[in-house]
């Protein structure tokens, strides 16, 4: 069995809820060039059956790892979410698991230690970013939880800019802004 010498390592990252329903699923294939014919990327029907069968096999079995349909699947189960990461049959199991732990550790930070269905849905933007910072179309970007989390920005605080910056610079900015607006109006002559 030849080892995988390409950098394309992760086949998919999948989040399912406790009914086996999909919360997030990313099936990877190289953005340019040929995809592996066995890849599930772009195969909606096969993905659905794959997820259903996988869920059945892994639910309430805290095994961390399983070989399933010619893939290595590492996973972690929470109260109402299971997070899976899959790779090729010849992949290094420990490497995949470290990647999964990186992602999960990062989620733990950005979701403030509550990895569950509700907070994943509420913070879908940050979850998407965390997944995106873990693997880029199958290439592992980072495995350190703190680093992955530090690259995930929080949502902007508010649209209406009522945040008052009371520092000297802030006041100066406000003054400058007002000044420019006023002069603008004046120039337009009302």
């Amino acid at each position: 069995m030849p080892a995988n010498i390409s950098l394309y390592t992760v086949n998919s990252i999948i989040f399912l809820d406790n009914d086996g329903k999909r919360l997030l699923a990313k099936y990877y294939k190289p953005p340019h060039g040929e995809a592996d014919p066995d890849s599930l990327a772009g195969q909606d029907k096969k993905q659905a059956t794959f997820e259903a069968n996988l869920f059945q096999k892994t639910q309430k079995v805290n095994g961390d790892i399983i070989l399933f349909e010619n893939q290595i699947v590492v996973y972690k189960e929470y109260s109402d979410v299971i997070i899976y990461l899959t790779g090729g049959l010849n992949e290094n199991e420990a490497l995949l698991y470290t990647t999964l732990q990186g992602l999960i550790g990062a989620l733990d930070i950005v979701l403030k230690s509550s990895i569950d269905k509700k907070s994943i849905q509420e913070n879908y933007d940050m979850v998407s970013l965390a997944v995106d910072e873990t693997a880029d179309d199958g290439i592992i970007l980072e495995t350190d939880p703190a680093v992955i989390a530090s690259r995930v920005t929080k949502a902007p605080t508010d649209d209406v800019n009522i945040k008052i910056d009371l520092s000297e610079k802030g006041l100066f900015n406000a003054f400058q802004f007002a000044k420019s607006k006023v002069s603008e109006r004046l120039q337009q002559g009302f």
């Binding site: 095994g63 070989l67 879908y124 998407s128 680093v147 995930v152 920005t153 949502a155």
Partner: protein
């Protein structure tokens, strides 16, 4: 605004997916609004992503519209919005048109944007570029690769890697930058960790060196044609500036493995490097090093042991995945070299009760593979203890392993059978029961001593069997095996019970099974069978009545032999060929139906031959991966191989029969594999196949003219046997004209002396060559050409050409029984290992290894037991003892056979 807020909460409470069209409309509206509201847009983008990540998709037109409205968001400078914009661009760029339009916005961000989303911008850039537009980004990419910010550099390296398939030439120009990055030290900007207030117990690293992994991956693909450069790279990365990232080391180990695979001469040079990684702080590095070392064939047992010791330690770490990986590697190693794993047996046994079922199953199957005759009984007992706790699927794997084991240790059949008997009583589905039945069938077939107790188990099983298919198979087996036992009447009762109690399918197969007992020749049995069959004549089912009537008719005829042909045939038709022929017959036009289908054209297989194939398959097709469909493919392959062999034999027979002189020789007994007589790259490639007939040897020389401008006329072979009294040349069928780039065959026929006569043929190819006009491929008019000769390699006829592999249940028994012992001693000089000579001997003698003696467990000595049949039908058994001495390898060959000549010539011509 209030309605939106309301909607948002509704969504979250129900957890339902937002409506696709609503999201689409809202997105267009919000993204095109001015000024852009960052928070709301980020929320909408996350909804859009949620739709995409849950499997929804937009048609190209809509997706393109979305893509361009998203690009409007570049007006807003909020970095957190921008980051999510890039994720959305990545997702949509694959399904939208004209994605190139955003290139300039992205490039501006890479140059002047904020640090936090710079890497995202670079990665998005790789999606919108292609082979023709990449030039515009060259400078930016180069600068990003050497950037001191680890995230920026990684993003650039990964993006370059993505672009390799479309722009390898351009990416190649970045080799120096990539090279520089590997050894450079890069870090994260410190303000990056201000994103969140609290990082839990996680350390905030200055650098994780992951860019080394990405740079190495890219560099390998840029240099993989240049072995010298790769070697230099490995040297540098292992000594001067060692890699700090575990992923990078794992990758480097794989590259080293690949290099050794291609050039085994480097094995010993690179081994110390691999071994140094067997002790590493990261388990993934240790695992990868161990896996690579164990897959390399050119290493000594001592070197493999180092890797196994590492795995042994990893077997008892708390991390499940690591234990899994370690036991999986050991399992794979156990398939080829079970004896090497024995040191881990204690650890493996403690894994039998592991909470992860895959680990426990791997542990068991590995243990079963390492099993030797001393610990098999104990192992079986351990397994029986925990069979109740595991699922059907794992039980099947265990049973498969037991099956292989019972073929390996026929003398242990008793404990295996009692184990199988116990599990057969357990509750279980069809596939589980089927696996057990298969295992018992195999034991009966290949371990004759077990027959009676096994049959008894089966009889009990069908008393209460819910699966019709299994009952039918068991009945068939009882019919074939039952009459061979000393007390056949025992089974008749069990079979007849089925006739009384079961459904019509089972009843009809019971009828046939019953009638086989009547063929024994015992009057009283025949009489009672006839009575039983007569009762079946009043069955309600047509099929049962028909079968009973047919059997009665055959049994009441005077000629018991004729009844045997129909009721218990000793030869089977080769089913794949029969199928193929029938399909051909049916698909032909109407004319073909005017002649009836000729069953005699289908080759038949005697029971022994079939068994030999089956045995080979069963012992070879080992469980490679747990519950993976890959296994089935493998079995298909081995079946295909048998099928191909049959087909090839058939093809040869047809070709030869079309030559009248050769057709007169009778049926083709055996054809050898194709032997190369020239290098594959020469002008004329010659291969040979040896065909053996009753009194003749026909050598088929296939000549391939690889030239494009030369035509060969009158191509013949001067074939000179070393023993001229044994092989007398009768005729040659030359090739009259061999066109450029064509292939044709020359047949040289010899009459051969009786027995197994080896010989060496010195061959010379002679021909007249003519230049041809490349346009017409015809030689010039009047060109007489000039005669030439071409020396090709010798062709050897060895005893193996006269022997076919066969299976025997009890080798020792046959060995003691056979007369005509001959022995010879050889001194092997060119052989480097016992393994090599064993596999060579099996091939050259074309006999079947018995009692698993093809597995070499010691490097100093080995005993190989082989069995086969000569073409004349004589049994041949061979025991070969190999030992390594100071001067090389000594080999003692003992041969016994029904035929004295066979013994002698095999013994004297082994090498």
């Amino acid at each position: 605004m209030s309605t939106h807020t309301y909607k948002k909460f509704e969504d979250l409470d129900s957890g339902a997916l937002p409506d696709k069209m609503t999201v689409y409309q809202e997105c267009l509206q919000a993204f095109n609004a001015s000024p852009v509201q960052a928070k709301r847009c980020r929320l909408l983008l996350s909804r859009l992503l949620r739709l995409l990540y849950c499997g929804e998709s937009f048609p190209t037109a809509e997706s393109t519209t979305l893509f361009f409205s998203i690009s409007k968001l570049f007006q807003h400078n909020d970095y957190s919005l921008r980051q999510l914009v890039y994720v959305a661009i990545k997702e949509l760029s694959a399904v939208s048109d004209d994605v190139l339009m955003v290139t300039s916005s992205i490039m501006k961000d890479i140059q002047n944007g904020e640090i936090i989303y710079k890497p995202n911008a670079i990665r998005a850039l790789a999606r919108v570029l292609d082979g023709t537009t990449i030039h515009a980004a060259e400078r930016i990419m180069k600068n990003s690769i050497v950037d001191k910010n680890q995230s920026v550099s990684s993003a650039a390296l990964v993006s370059s890697y993505h672009l390799l398939p479309v722009a390898k030439d351009v990416v190649r120009r970045w080799t120096n930058e990539t090279q520089e990055s590997i050894s450079d030290s890069k870090s994260f900007p410190s303000q990056q960790f201000l994103t969140h207030e609290y990082y839990g117990a996680n350390k905030l690293p200055l650098s994780t060196y992951t860019y080394q992994y990405h740079a190495l991956g890219l560099l390998y693909h840029l240099r993989n044609h240049d072995k010298m450069a790769l070697m230099k790279m490995i040297q540098q990365l292992s000594t001067n500036s060692p890699l700090k990232n575990s992923l990078a080391i794992v990758q480097l180990i794989r590259y080293i493995g690949r290099i050794i695979e291609e050039d085994s001469g480097l094995t010993q040079t690179l081994f110390p490097l691999l071994a140094s990684w067997l002790r590493h702080k990261s388990d993934m590095v240790e695992l990868e090093a161990a896996k690579t070392i164990l897959s390399l064939p050119g290493l000594t047992g001592e070197q493999h042991l180092q890797a196994i010791n590492t795995l042994q330690v990893l077997l008892s770490v708390p991390r499940t995945v690591t234990r899994f990986a370690a036991v999986r590697i050991l399992n794979r190693t156990a398939m080829k070299n079970p004896e090497k794993i024995v040191v881990c047996n204690v650890e493996l046994e403690s894994l039998i009760n592991d909470s992860n079922r895959s680990i426990s199953t791997y542990a068991i199957t590995t243990l079963l593979k390492t099993g030797n005759s001393d610990n098999v009984d104990r192992l079986i007992k351990t397994i029986s203890g925990f069979m109740d706790d595991i699922s059907d699927e794992f039980k099947i794997i265990v049973i498969e392993a037991v099956r292989t084991l019972s073929l390996k240790f026929p003398e242990k059949h008793q404990s295996m059978l009692s184990f199988l008997n116990d599990v057969l009583r357990d509750e279980g589905g069809f596939s589980f029961k089927n696996a057990i039945i298969e295992a018992i069938f195999d034991i009966i077939k290949f371990v004759p001593e077990s027959r009676e107790s096994a049959l008894e188990t089966l009889c009990e099983f069908i008393e209460d069997c819910e699966f019709t298919e299994l009952a039918v198979r068991v009945l068939h087996l009882l019919g074939t095996e039952g009459p061979k036992t000393p007390n056949p009447t025992l089974y008749i009762r069990h079979i007849y019970n089925r006739v009384v109690l079961e459904n019509s399918i089972v009843r009809s197969s019971a009828v046939i099974a019953l009638s086989k007992f009547a063929l024994l020749g015992d009057e009283s049995i025949s009489k009672s069978i006839k009575i039983l069959l007569t009762r079946c004549l009043s069955d309600v089912d047509d099929e049962v009545r028909d079968r009973a009537a047919l059997s009665l008719k055959l049994l009441s005829s005077k000629d018991i032999e004729e009844a045997k042909v129909y009721l218990a045939p000793s030869v089977k038709y080769s089913l794949p060929i029969l199928e193929q022929k029938l399909a051909l017959y049916v698909s032909g036009d109407k004319d073909t139906f005017s002649t009836p289908f000729d069953i005699s054209s289908i080759p038949t297989i005697t029971e022994e031959e079939a068994k030999a194939y089956e045995y080979k398959e069963k012992t070879a097709a080992d469980t490679e991966e747990i519950a993976s469909p890959g296994k089935e493919d493998k079995e298909d392959d081995s079946q295909n191989e048998v099928f191909k062999q049959n087909l090839l034999h058939q093809q040869y027979s047809q070709e030869l029969a079309s030559i009248p002189e050769i057709a007169a020789y009778g049926t083709l007994l055996h054809s050898s594999a194709v032997v190369d007589l020239t290098e594959k790259e020469t002008e004329f490639v010659v291969t040979a196949v040896k065909h053996i007939f009753e009194d003749h040897l026909v050598i088929q020389y296939n000549v391939n003219n690889t030239l494009t401008d030369i035509q060969l006329d009158d191509v013949t072979i001067v074939s000179q046997p070393d023993a001229e009294d044994v092989f007398v040349e009768e005729f040659i069928i030359p090739i009259e004209v061999l066109k450029p780039q064509a292939e044709a065959a020359i047949y040289v026929s010899f009459s051969r002396a009786e027995g197994i006569e080896p010989g060496v043929f010195v061959n010379t190819l002679s021909y007249t060559s003519k230049d041809v006009d490349p346009a017409t491929l015809e030689p010039a008019e009047g060109d007489v050409g000039f005669p030439d000769e071409y020396q090709i390699e010798e062709l050897q006829v060895s005893p193996g050409d006269y022997i076919t592999p066969a299976f025997v249940g009890n080798f020792t028994h046959v060995w003691d029984e056979l007369p005509n012992e001959q022995s010879a001693v050889y001194n092997l000089k060119d052989v480097t290992s016992i393994e090599e000579s064993v596999s060579g001997l099996i091939k050259s003698l074309s006999m079947m290894p018995m009692e698993s003696s093809e597995i070499v467990s010691s490097s100093s000595h080995h005993t190989l037991k082989l069995y086969g049949k000569s073409l004349g039908g004589a049994r041949v058994a061979t025991v070969i003892r190999l030992a390594s001495t100071a001067k090389g390898f000594m080999m003692k060959v003992q041969v016994k056979s029904d035929d004295e000549i066979v013994s002698e010539s095999v013994a004297n011509n082994v090498v």
